[in-house]
């Protein structure tokens, strides 16, 4: 009786995890599959999950588009992969990826630089207004981004930072730093105070204590912060839409979105761009894979 119910349970778990996996992976699979198809095949019914005529022409088009200036008159010229159409902003795609990467990496590094010492101070040093500052910081994140767009815009314009990567780095920091500090504070607090005392008696200044004892122990939380800030910056759309105007500073989400609002929509081209957009986050996930699970539960258990 118990044996058969055990089997039933296993079957149930197996089936439901299969369904969940399909739910998660199907969009990605379609993205990858359709990036290898021509527009004509993408729109065929029923859809071809496995491309009948696989082609790399979409990717070739992206990399060639970099040198081309596409206008209404020239958009049909010589690009078989896209069924003859390439978006007028296509040449911005590769530079925009670079922009996204520069912004995301800067935001990650500056986050660590600011959040790690701040979190250490809040977790381990008693000062007047310590808990107030933690709560104040968190309440700033209760305000939705959309409410901040106008003040941010005025600020950015006043400082002459419109259409620069700097505007994005500054505003993304404003969004991500409070969360980073929050993640790290709770992790540092879970590490015993006596470690801090032991390190200082052993001859570490506050900064050395942080660098030599707390940072190595906080690796899972640091990975969580790196992933969180990188993905937030990489995916951010609203603020980038407001502050960037030209290919000089546009990030990948803006450029890819612009493909859909062009003269004509090329599904193949957009999907190929989508595949490229997924690559860096996936690489990050692979690199930090062994830390991710412990990072997500950071603070739940003692180091």
């Amino acid at each position: 009786m118990t044996r058969s119910s055990g089997i039933g349970r296993s079957i149930f778990l197996f089936l439901s995890s299969t369904v969940f996996l399909i739910y998660l992976l199907a969009p990605v699979a379609w993205l990858v599959s359709s990036s290898l198809q021509r527009d004509a095949e993408i729109t065929s019914r029923p859809p071809h999950w496995i491309p009948h005529e696989p082609t790399l022409e979409n990717f070739a088009a992206i990399f060639q588009a970099r040198e081309k200036k596409v206008t209404y008159e020239t958009r049909r010229q010589g690009d078989p992969a896209t069924g003859g159409y390439i978006p007028s902003t296509a040449r911005n795609l590769i530079p925009s990826m670079w922009n996204s990467l520069v912004v995301a990496v800067s935001v990650v590094l500056l986050n660590l630089l600011v959040a790690v010492p701040a979190a250490y101070a809040m977790a381990k040093i008693r000062f007047i207004g310590r808990s107030t500052s933690i709560y104040f910081m968190l309440t700033t994140r209760v305000i939705p981004d959309i409410a901040l767009v106008v003040p941010f815009f005025l600020f950015i314009r006043t400082f002459g930072l419109l259409d620069t990567l700097g505007s994005l780095v500054i505003t993304y920091l404003a969004i991500t730093v409070p969360f980073s500090i929050f993640i790290l504070v709770s992790y540092f607090e879970s590490l015993p105070d006596e470690l801090d005392k032991a390190a200082r008696v052993d001859g570490c200044s506050r900064l050395q204590t942080l660098a030599r004892v707390y940072v190595p122990l906080a690796a899972p939380a640091l990975v969580a912060v790196v992933l969180f800030t990188f993905l937030t910056s990489w995916n951010e759309f609203l603020l980038a839409l407001m502050f960037t105007q030209t290919g000089k500073s546009q990030t990948m989400p803006i450029v890819v979105a612009s493909f859909a609002s062009d003269f004509t929509i090329s599904f193949a081209f957009i999907n190929a761009a989508g595949v490229l957009a997924v690559v860096p986050p996936v690489l990050m996930a692979v690199i930090f894979e062994r830390y991710i699970v412990s990072g997500l539960t950071a603070g739940a258990v003692k180091g």
Partner: protein, 357 residues
């Protein structure tokens, strides 16, 4: 190497809580001083002030002739052992012990030599490559000691270092710490709430309560001549018994109902004063017949070597420690002779000793 001197030191936290008030204390070079008191009495705060882990907010703290108030922890030549050991989990035992030396810029060869020597002294040589989580509690304790002694500091601070060990190990480590003090010949300041540790280890004991020093003295002084009921109650197992009563016979006797006992020294002209008599659990003799108190046995608690007797005397229940050969049964009446040369006498309202000031 260092005399530690507190001059009217106070410690007040930003929230207004005063952890220490007007603390004056001089710890001599190479002395073993134990700070004893219940939790929250300020003993750990005192230790943290010596280490520089917390700031002095009033008064002055001196090491020899150097004012230490503003010297940060990492510039003070002290080592500390913590209750939780506070070993660095990401470092091997070797690295844990070597860390303090590395931070102070010792040469690699010198570090290796000292770490090996400390490890040999503490018998943890085979463990040097392990991580702290692979060690037992007693082994971690030894590593924590090693980390402190390898530096050969001017002062050795210990914050309840044995509290996390089991009873048998605790007694063994107590002996080792005492031996360590003798071999290292440096100043030890040791914080505990365990009176037995204090009595075993200390050259001098400082009894503290709510941030105020109650009494400073050798273990014998503290035990035999407590200055108030707090100190008297804190030492002794089972704790000292109190009987409220009055002085009679021009201050030469203590009287409560049918109990009348001679005092070790008469308080002349104070007959009729309400007082509290303190009798230590071991200061009774069931065989002798002078200076007797009698009452009904309310409980018999054998503890192996001895037995504890609860005796109801004039409406108060007193606990005494007597040999196990005494056949006492609950409900029986018993007469016990009090060693009146060792009784204590306190003011009944303030609790201050009337015998020792």
């Amino acid at each position: 190497m260092a005399t530690i001197r507190f001059e009217s030191v106070g410690k007040r936290y930003p929230n207004g809580f005063a952890a220490l008030e007007n603390l004056s204390l001089e710890i001599a070079d190479k002395e073993f001083v134990v700070l004893l008191g219940p939790s929250g009495c300020g003993k750990s705060t005192t230790l943290n002030l010596i280490a520089g882990l917390e700031d002095v907010t009033a008064g002055a703290l001196w090491f020899d002739r150097t004012l230490m108030n503003v010297v940060p922890a990492h510039k003070r030549d002290v080592a500390m052992v913590f209750q939780s050991y506070a070993l660095y989990p990401h470092k091997s035992v070797y690295e844990n012990i070597a860390f303090g030396l590395r931070m102070r810029g010792f040469a690699r060869a010198e570090i290796a030599r000292r770490v090996r020597e400390a490890a040999r002294m503490l018998e943890i040589e085979p463990l040097l490559e392990r991580r702290p989580h692979q060690l037992s509690g007693g082994q971690r304790q030894r590593v924590a000691l090693g980390r402190a002694l390898v530096r050969q500091p001017a002062a050795f601070l210990m914050d309840e270092p044995l509290s996390n060990l089991d009873a048998a190990l605790r007694i063994a480590m107590r002996a080792e710490i005492k031996k360590l003090h003798q071999t290292m010949r440096t100043t030890f300041v040791y914080v505990t709430h365990d009176q037995a540790e204090a009595l075993t280890l200390a050259d001098r004991i400082v009894v503290m309560r709510e941030g105020v020093i109650q009494q400073i003295g050798t273990p014998e002084e503290i035990y035999d001549r407590p200055k108030n009921t707090f100190v008297a109650s804190f030492l002794g197992n089972p704790p000292i018994n109190y009987l409220e009563g009055t002085l009679a016979g021009d201050g030469a006797r203590f009287v409560r109902g049918g109990v009348s006992l001679a005092l070790p020294k008469p308080l002349q002209g104070q007959g009729g004063r309400p007082v509290k008599l303190g009798i230590r659990a071991e200061d009774v003799d069931p065989k002798a017949t002078h200076q007797v108190i009698s009452g009904r046995v309310s409980s018999v608690l054998p503890v192996g070597s001895d037995q504890y007797l609860g005796v109801e005397v004039e409406g108060a229940t007193l606990f005494f420690r007597v040999g196990r050969e005494l056949r006492a049964r609950e409900g029986e009446n018993i007469a016990l002779s009090v060693n009146t040369s060792r009784v204590q006498l306190f003011d009944s309202s303030s609790g201050a000793s009337l015998l020792w000031t």
